[in-house]
């Protein structure tokens, strides 16, 4: 995919397209004296993993919170599987799920209890069998009766991922899913997520500060800074297109000099 300079607020694609699982159009979030997200527009298609990159405070988590319906946009629309989150919150959220390092599951419930609890909340049919599949998939069978609060951070991440897949979501939001995993576990998770995107026709929005991981996993990345999307493109092609050697170098330039970095794009 060629590198393109993002020009908000125009939506990238028509959210009504059947292979679009997430459509974000002209998304804005303002607080009293702060604009956290400004005219953000993008989409995520089935089988696609899109990286949402940016420095701390760029507006990534705010965007994810709006997609998850726990934060109302000041302006703009979000559709999941063609369903407007603002108008049909429950139906839209039934098609999505998420895992985030800052949203650990209740530590006073065991792994299995947590999966059962959230499985009921999502209204999963054949829940028992779905839980067994996920426990096996994430190597959690031996931890099923262990309280989540006493698990290592890596184990908690695996439980969070198992919970995130309970409803076989069309859209999966992963906010730094491998941040607390050792390299081997992180590689396993990346592989599992890639397989998931390929096999289950699921679109994934992924945030990470690990640029090596982003290059390995993401089909497309969006660079966010100060609430705006500055760049969009193939993570393997973007660095060269912007005259830098690596995605990490590009990230650092965008984080420090967002306007300068996008203006210097070679012709």
């Amino acid at each position: 995919m060629p590198a393109t300079l993002h020009r908000p607020p125009e939506p990238v694609t028509d959210p009504a397209q059947p292979d679009t699982v997430l459509g974000v159009t002209d998304l804005c979030k303002s607080y009293a004296h702060v604009t956290a997200v400004e005219h953000v527009a993008f989409n995520v298609k089935r089988n696609e993993i899109v990286g949402l990159l940016g420095p701390n405070g760029a507006g990534k988590t705010t965007t994810i919170n709006m997609i998850l319906g726990v934060l109302a946009p000041t302006r703009g629309t979000i559709t999941i599987g063609g369903i407007d989150v603002a108008k049909h919150r429950s139906q839209a959220l039934a098609r999505t799920n998420f895992a985030a390092v800052y949203a650990t599951l209740p530590g006073n419930l065991t792994v299995e209890q947590n999966l059962r609890f959230f499985g009921l909340i999502y209204g999963i049919a054949n829940l028992r069998s779905r839980i067994e599949t996920l426990l096996a998939q994430f190597d959690l069978l031996h931890l099923r009766h262990t309280r989540c609060g006493v698990l290592s951070s890596g184990e908690q991440t695996r439980v969070a991922l198992a919970k995130a897949l309970l409803n076989s979501p069309e859209l999966l939001l992963l906010d730094e899913p491998t941040a607390s995993l050792d390299p081997a576990a992180a590689q396993t998770v990346r592989k599992q997520i890639r397989e998931l995107a390929r096999q289950e026709r699921c679109g994934i929005l992924w945030t990470s500060h690990n640029m090596y991981e982003v290059e390995e996993v993401c089909d497309r990345v969006l660079f966010v800074s100060r609430g705006r999307i500055l760049l969009e493109g193939d993570p393997r092609a973007l660095p060269a297109a912007h005259g830098v050697h690596s995605l990490e170098e590009l990230f650092i330039r965008l984080a420090r000099e967002p306007l300068h970095a996008t203006e210097e794009r070679p012709r």
Binding site: V70, A103, F118, L120
Partner: protein
């Protein structure tokens, strides 16, 4: 309204009760202590007072009912606090769960725990202190129902307050029954109070219940219309509390309070 998410909320509380004696103990321990203290006090007063008044139903009976109301209210708030304590709002509300399903789950959880407490209180008060509600007959049902409705309403309103003001405001919730009790004539006729306190007392449905109970126990004239007014008031307050919770939830989503709810969030 879907039943599975409601069952999920109830099941989560049952898991917590099953795994933690600390949660089970207060359901029975505090009510037992109250019954023992007020039971012996009633016996003592019966022995020394030069009066035809039977203190067992007049004191022990109303204490039992007041404890039931307190348990109902705290049943709702405690189930809500479980999500506050485990910082579970993001996981919970980024799902298809609706506010109506969530609140219904909290209420049904409270019904189960408070009925268990009520049963324990009744057994203890009847067997040890000879408390009898025969004089009330079927009127016992509307008395309990009014207290139940008001307990639920206060529990929902208190939960909304904690959602709005932050976890630290939990400490404002625990003393609520004690704050109300002087106004509603739990231990004395409401006419004992100064005029302004009586006016406030009549805004709380329990005042109608305790006035009615006292009249029945002492063979005085009992007004069914007054009790119906209490029931209507409790129902109206329940509806208002539900609207209040939904309004606070919408406010929390709009302002970002829900997404960043933490131990120190007050604003």
């Amino acid at each position: 309204m879907r039943l599975r998410p409601v069952a999920g909320i109830i099941l989560r509380q049952l898991y917590l009760f099953r795994s933690s004696p600390v949660r089970v103990l207060p359901t029975f321990a505090w009510v037992a202590i109250d019954i023992v203290i007020w039971g012996f006090l009633s016996r003592y007063l019966n022995g020394i007072a030069n009066s035809h008044l039977n203190f067992v139903p007049n004191l022990l009976g109303v204490v039992l009912f007041w404890d039931f109301f307190t348990r109902i209210m705290q049943g709702v708030t405690t189930a809500f606090f479980e999500d506050v304590w485990s910082r579970n709002f993001l996981n919970l509300f980024a799902t298809p769960l609706t506010i109506a399903e969530y609140v219904t789950g909290l209420v049904l959880t409270s019904v189960m725990t408070s009925l268990a407490g009520l049963l324990a209180m009744l057994v203890l008060a009847t067997l040890v202190f000879g408390l009898s509600f025969v004089s009330m007959g079927l009127l016992l049902i509307p008395f309990v129902l009014v207290l139940f409705l008001f307990g639920i309403a206060l529990g929902i309103a208190a939960s909304a307050m904690v959602l709005r003001l932050g976890p630290a405001s939990e400490w404002l919730v625990w003393p609520l029954p004690a704050l109300i009790s002087p106004f509603v004539g739990v231990y004395y006729p409401i006419t004992t109070l100064p005029e302004w306190m009586q006016v406030i007392g009549h805004l709380f449905p329990p005042s109608y219940v305790f006035e009615g109970m006292r009249a029945l126990i002492n063979g005085e004239v009992f007004s069914v219309t007054t009790l119906l007014a209490g029931a209507a008031l409790a129902l109206a307050q329940l509806i208002l509390a539900a609207y209040f919770f939904a309004g606070v939830f919408r406010y929390s989503v709009r302002t970002g309070l829900l997404a960043r709810y933490s131990a120190e969030s007050v604003g």
